[in-house]
Amino acid sequence: MEVNILTLCYLIAAVTFIVGLKMLSHPETARRGNGVAAAGMTLAILGTIFLYKDKDAPGGLHNYSWIFAGILIGGIIGTMAARRVKMTAMPELVSLFNGMGGACAALISLIEFGHLAHNNFETTTVNSVVTDVYVLNNVSTQPVATGTVLIILLGLIIGSISFAGSVIAWGKLNGKIKDYSFRGQHVMNLVLLGLLVLLAAYIIGWLPVHASLYFYLVFAMALIYGVFFVLPIGGADMPVVISLLNSFTGVAAACGGFLYNNKVMLTGGILVGAAGTLLTILMCKAMNRSLGNVLIGSFGSPKGGATQNKTQGLYKEISLADAAVVMAYSNKIMIVPGYGLAVAQAQHVCHELEKLLTEKGVEVRYAIHPVAGRMPGHMNVLLAEADVNYDKLLEMEVANEEFQTTDVVLVLGANDVVNPAAKSDSSSPIYGMPILDVELAKTIIVNKRSMKPGYAGIENDLFFRPKTSMLFGDAKKVLQDLIAEIKNV
């Protein structure tokens, strides 16, 4: 009876995950969708704690104090971290939480393999020392199914890669870890991955005497691969990597579902794995790159080193007063936000500027590049925080049609997403990525802190074009001053 109730709990939870995800993809229902999925998750967790039974644990689970202590600790830290994090730091926090899930999956595999080794092949090895290799075909008496070992290894490998990769992504996003790459890194990554697969296949197919030893070796290699997988990737690729690792963790969770024949873990895991993969592919498409290319990790690696530094042209600066006049007397302004806006926490001031200009009869809208910021939709979340109306946010395709009739484009801390090299320079690492064609507008004002290249480390010709003028300074400060100046116009 209790087990039947648990089955019902799991069924309800699985449905809430699907419905929740569906609701999350529509603006009006998104928040409720998140709540629905959270409620389902709570039900599944409580049900598992109190109602779970199986042949190994016929009387239900024990170690309650450990379980509750773990949930309490994780719950408190998780809530605090999520509540306190600044908007700018949200992407890296998501990456970190994702890594925690991956680590959880890897730990489950570690423990389950320990049980497996303890109960089966290691004890039998002692009985028959003569044969030093166990072929699975003659373990018909042994319940060690190839499938089980495969699933445990899969959970371990994917979970570990996801964990190590997410931690590196977290470190990179908050600037603790620098891009790092060396010659032959692609080859090394591929070799490492190949060895990993071979070793895993060896364990699955032959179940060698020292399977546990090889198992830990696989664990270590997966962690190393995760590190080297993300380490060389920089700039515009980071959102793709987080999304990809997110779907990895989904698959790792599904492995756990396979292992325990647990349908809700399977449903949730595969659902996220599939949805995450689709999201990743959509992002790759937005940047006109293949997933394989991202996987090998080629983006951040400098192609020719110092030779890339072309001679810089001259750029011109514009004073605040001039900028204010130009903007106050134009008909149509397009604001292009980027990571600089997020760093400076300037979204509220930006909204103020927009309101002020609108009062003066200027049509102000925002052009949102799909990968502006550190995550897809990063700018949307940021501007939503500042109460900017949805209708004012234009997607890239729409915005590109509007630029021709735009008087002033105000670029706020965006760089790579407006770099014309993506169109013209086939040697540029971002060549082929669709960009916002801000050059079609009459005037371009670029706000940056300095002439330093953007996150991807590429020079931007836009700054040296005749229509462009630079407005240096912290985005928040500059916008505040700009508002004051416009009020005086």
Binding site: G101, I111, L271, V388
Partner: protein, 102 residues
């Protein structure tokens, strides 16, 4: 032959996997780019179901198996972080979206 037997033994699970792949793709197929970040974050929280595995492992560990207890305890903490943190962060993001509706 082994593979065929394995498929037969796990028929239900394999059906779920195949169907869920399509459901996952279908469900987010037409998501507007404004919601990409919250969606990724929400999906991130959902794959926190892995915590159920951690609870099962923890709840079955023998009281003298300190390695399993320790690792299981850690797994429960990490899994909870993923679930709770994930849902709270997503809610915070979406809260900002809702405010402007007024």
């Amino acid at each position: 032959m082994g593979i065929i037997n394995w498929i037969a033994a796990n028929e239900q699970i394999i059906y779920i996997v195949i169907l869920m792949i399509f459901v996952g793709i279908e469900v987010i197929g037409r998501v507007p780019s404004v919601l990409h970040t919250p969606l990724m974050s929400g999906a991130n929280a959902i794959h926190g179901v892995v915590i159920i595995g951690a609870i099962i492992v923890m709840g079955k560990a023998e009281s003298d198996n300190y390695l399993a207890l320790g690792l299981g305890f850690l797994a429960v903490i990490l899994g909870t972080l993923n679930v709770v943190g994930g849902f709270v962060v997503t809610d915070r993001m979406l809260e900002m979206f809702r405010k402007k509706k007024k």
